[in-house]
Amino acid sequence: MTDSAHHGPVTATAPRARAPGFWHNLAFWGLLPSWLLMGVALLLPILIIAAVSVATRGAYGGFEWGFDLSGYRQILFNEGWTGELEFTPQYLVIILRTLALAGVTTLICLAVAVPVAYHIACQPPRLKAALVYLITLPFWVSMILRVYAWMIILGRDGPLPRFLEFFGAHAGLSFMYNDGATLAAMVYTYMPLMVLPVFASIEKLDGTLIEAAHDLYGNRWVTLRRVILPLTAPGLISGAILVFVPSLGAVLEPSLMGGGKQMMMGSLIQLQFSGGRNWPFGAAIAMTLLVFVMIVLLLIARRATAKESTA
């Protein structure tokens, strides 16, 4: 626990002899390059996609600037020959399937990461540092290579089927090209993004608080629910966001591991920009995804700040 002097409202007492002139505002000019870079690198692509999503589809692929919501309409409705709108759940199913895959991936990562992170946090400092390093190790290898490695592990004559054959499974077994394979690769890929923030929050947790909970007649369950979870929630939430958000846009795992049998949002978007040549539609799906993610993040952020200020 930090010293009490660090708490309490910080009152701004910067001397204000005179308002600084616009040209003398050093902070503004000093930070301008950073702001410009951030704006160009982050905001501009999103603005372009937003503009494309309301553009008109070109006759031979591509698009023409304009304002046309048919890209968005196409997510739910199909335009018949005669121009009537027909509800088609085809893309909605893809969106829901993607949400489900991302959700399950997040839950599995959470369930595995919490005990792993807890275990790492309990190790002596040197081993702890080594284990954290090991957790980040897969990031040093290209993601495509790692997915191919998984294809080898699970595929026909791969280590896992061979291993099972050794114990009597029939030959020629393969675990590839299904939802399970997709999920396995997704969990593997995003696991570090979950473990690291969860580890950080568990490590920060003061062990005497857990003892205090036991001391005050709390059993394991009460201690977990009322002390450990609330205090590590920020780490769990950031881990969940870090896994869930990129899972929504995953392309490699569903197409390579799942064999592309089950279309996901990421592949759908990619298809519109390549083979399908319907850029406004692809951009509209991407924007829908973005808005959805932003709403979720805003809700979480609002809840977090509301909790902080109920003091």
């Binding site: 626990m1 010293d3 009490s4 708490h7 309490g8 003061d206 005497t208 608080l209 003892e211 205090a212 909970a213 036991h214 001391d215 005050l216 007649y217 709390g218 059993n219 009460v222 009322r226 002390v227 609330p230 205090l231 003091a311």
Partner: protein, 356 residues
């Protein structure tokens, strides 16, 4: 009222090859303010954590109100702890912190509410009931930690150096407050400290721990005035160790020859035998100048430290150096110059032969 709240029987604990506790035994009486006093690293916290249930002894047993508890987990012991770092739940308000234990015990809502109010009132924190720990000062957190631990009316309250993080003024005030709380509630307090002054001030009884063993158990006066060995005499208060020769010892008394050439009869613990021994005389019990008794001897002032209320002297007689302090009872009190000679002496009842 002399029931035993806690019995520690032959408890030992090793950490690796390090022997933290070597077969310790003692009792704590119901409703007493019991202090475990010892230098840092002597195993006080380990012992306290065993009473709470966070640590288990390698050998021996621990009884709480006559019941063996070594196998019982912390949340099933009617014992509460005031942690050194307070360990208040940072995400809960003060009310919620104090209510936590009561909720786990399954108290009724209305009863919890009134008990929480009562406890916060008692530690003068009512007006902050809905605040969180981060918005409090150290002293205030201390009070809440006390309220939280006392609320469930534990059979024994454990306190691990609860005052060491507070500043000096606050510490003195909290000593009185703790003592008062203990008297009012009648709950057995087991208090751990390395501060001998705290121990002497607050305790009904003190156990002096050192080297993983209980060195002595007794009332503050017994510990201070009749230390059984060199460790206790040295750790609790200041003292002079004078090399003496025991000529005869029997029945708790001994005749000894001091380095100043006197033959005196002083109290001695059982086990003292003829031969070389150590005599302990506290500096404030060596009287100087006109305050010196008839048996006084001349001593040289080697050095002195004027402290205002009293003066500490380093004296030398017959080649033996020793310390004496003198209360400056009048304005002219401190007139003895360094290098000068002064009469020094002590009553026979003020000295004590020590074991080892």
């Amino acid at each position: 009222m002399n029931q035993k709240a806690v019995e520690v029987i032959g408890v030992s604990k090793n950490f690796g090859s390090y022997q933290a506790l070597k077969s310790i035994s003692f009792d704590i009486r119901s409703n007493e303010f019991f202090t475990m006093l010892g230098p840092s690293g002597c195993g006080k916290t380990t012992l306290l954590r065993m009473l709470a249930g966070f640590e288990s002894p390698d050998t021996g047993s621990i009884l709480l109100n006559g019941r063996e508890v070594v196998e019982i987990p912390p949340h099933k012991r009617r014992v509460n702890t005031v942690f050194q770092s307070y360990a208040l739940f940072p995400h809960m308000t003060l009310e919620q912190n104090v209510a936590f234990g009561l909720e786990n015990l399954g108290w009724q809502r209305s009863r919890i509410r009134s008990r929480v109010g009562e406890m916060l009132e008692r530690v003068h924190m009512s007006q902050f009931a809905t605040r969180k720990p981060a918005q409090l000062s150290g002293g205030q957190r201390q009070r809440v930690a006390l309220a939280r631990a006392l609320a469930p009316e534990p059979e024994v309250l454990l306190l691990d150096e609860p005052l060491s993080a507070l500043d000096l003024k606050l510490r003195q005030a909290m000593r009185d407050e703790l003592r008062m709380l203990q008297r009012d509630t009648g709950i057995t307090f087991v208090f751990v400290t390395h501060d001998q002054e705290e121990a002497l001030d607050m305790s009904d009884r003190i156990a002096v721990l050192g080297g993983g063993e209980v060195q002595q158990i007794g009332t503050p006066t017994e510990i201070y005035e009749e230390p059984v060995n060199r460790f206790v005499a040295d750790f609790v208060g200041e003292t002079n160790f004078l090399p003496v020769e025991v000529l005869e010892a029997a029945g708790g008394m001994a005749t000894v020859r001091t380095p100043f050439g006197q033959l005196i009869r002083v109290s001695a613990p059982a086990g003292v035998t003829k031969g070389a021994a150590t005599l302990s005389v506290r500096p404030e019990k060596i009287n100087l100048g006109d305050q010196a008794p008839a048996t006084a001897f001349p001593a040289q002032v080697v050095n002195k430290n004027y402290m205002g209320g009293y003066t500490h002297y380093l004296l030398s007689a017959n080649g033996t150096e020793f310390r004496a302090s003198r209360r400056n009872a009048s304005r002219e009190g401190d007139t003895i110059p360094v290098g000068g000679t002064i009469a020094a002496g002590f009553a026979e009842t003020s000295a004590r032969v020590l074991l080892a």
